[in-house]
Subunit: 261 residues, 2 copies
DNA sequence: CGGCTTCTTGATCTCGATCAATCAGCGTGG
DNA sequence: CCACGCTGATTGATCGAGATCAAGAAGCCG
């Protein structure tokens, strides 16, 4: 561990700047000029990383900031009044948390780290006033929200029309694309969430998840042991997922060794 | 037919102003001052009403405007590549259409009038520049999008965890609240959509919808004939729907008038 | 190493999709 | 104005996929 000169063990997080963040091209500051980026950087608050299982905030907490995932991953869980919990979202690096809370000013669910995770806090009132003066930022904010709405629609289609195999295929293709987007290999990664969470999220029993995964392995679509995932036949999985318009940038499955792009 | 003095048969629609619109308190201009309202009113384009079955736009059309429903109702339908269609949304008066298209700049589905329907067109680039100078409008836009995201989450919960009876109950409660919001009776209304659309939207077969409706009538929860709906026991239906935080403003079914927390 | 959670595998059973047929509503045109 | 024909709605009967129940295996943590 490098020893920071100024004291606090979190100094290095406070030091982190959007300008040097590897995700800045994917995150909100996307397409911001140097000067605007400075302004944006100024309103960000860095936080000590969350431990696995720790909550970023709780259901019912009042909303004041959105958060950008810097590293790690989180899940959003909503408790209904019978105490049933529903996993409604997973968040990966560069993605924004809390956009769904602006309307009610209350967080509609828990957001919990699935592993050691760090996030940037972006106070919403500051973000809003910055959006007033930086059209690029405003547009990007609209885009982010709009994109999330589109994703939600896809999820609704998945839940209401797809059979379990298709759901799980969609889920993995979606994860793969998002991992690729932030620089990881799309075909080899470690699942951040438990089978339980996947099942809950996809509206399926855990047992069903297990059985389908078994089937996927038999069919040589993927290799899984524990949480270690290797997608062997991306095309076939994608076809099964019926994911239209989904394109793997570089590392399309050549049924061979290129999986680690 | 009244004869408009200026010629075009659509003149009266062009005349309509936000200031005199009964929905202005629910729609985007919500909470705008008189002057801001003027500016907002200036960018709106009125349109000739759509006939039943007519498309406001088609899937794949490029996006340039959002629309506010003035009267009538519409459905959003997405066609996947196998030609399967999925109803993803219903739009009632005062609600905004097209917010999910900002990100891709392409409409992800057809939006089709369920009855004679009129809408206001709001060019998005104008809206965005107006949002730059009117913080209230910007915030309202963020809120609208955020609210839609929250609604989507609820829908996802409905689809992945609720049994058919609960889904249909939720659907009716939701409709009732939205009708009430724009001034109609929450407990007596005419369904704008076909059973088919409801089933598709809720991820259920039409036959299932029919059977459950039959059951609801037996249980005295509601009276339905054709598309004419009367909710007889709002509380019971609401309980069944497990709709938390849903409050009927005035006309709560007073089986016991205290249910309001 | 032991106790816990997480994951897998097997057996049963239920609920809703599907198929099939009939009925009702409604707009159209003779 | 009524008969026709279409689409949309209801009702019945059957079947299968996935939830559920139950048990065992494998990680994973202190």
């Amino acid at each position: 561990m490098p020893i920071p000169s100024t004291g606090s063990k979190y100094t290095r997080f406070h030091r982190t700047r959007c300008q040097t963040c590897s995700l800045s091209a994917l995150c909100l500051p996307l397409a911001l000029g140097a000067q605007d980026m400075d302004q944006f950087n100024a309103i960000i608050r860095r936080r000590a990383p969350l431990k696995k299982g720790e909550a970023l905030f709780c259901q019912g907490n009042s909303f004041s900031s959105v958060f950008a995932v810097r590293s790690g991953s989180l899940k959003q869980v909503t408790l209904d009044q019978n105490g049933e919990e529903q996993v409604t979202h997973f968040y990966l690096p560069s993605e924004l948390i809390g956009l769904d809370s602006i309307s009610e000013q209350i967080h509609p669910g828990y957001v919990i780290a699935l592993e050691r995770t760090s996030v940037c806090e972006i106070p919403f009132n500051h973000l809003d006033s910055l959006a007033e003066h930086i059209p690029q930022l405003r547009l990007q904010l609209f885009r982010s929200m709009s994109k999330e709405m589109g994703d939600d629609r896809r999820m609704m289609r998945l839940l209401s029309r797809k059979v379990p195999d298709e759901r799980l295929a969609s889920f993995f293709i979606n994860l793969a694309m998002r991992f690729q987007r932030c620089g990881y290999s799309p075909c080899s990664f470690r699942l951040p969430m438990a089978r339980n969470d996947i099942g809950n999220y996809l509206g399926l029993a855990v047992e069903t998840i297990s059985r389908i995964l078994g089937r996927f392995q038999q069919q040589q679509l993927m290799a899984i042991q524990g949480r270690e995932v290797h997608i062997l036949d991306f095309e076939a999985l994608n076809t099964l997922a019926e994911t239209q318009g989904c394109q793997l940038d570089q590392a399309r499955t050549r049924t061979s060794s290129d999986a680690s792009a």
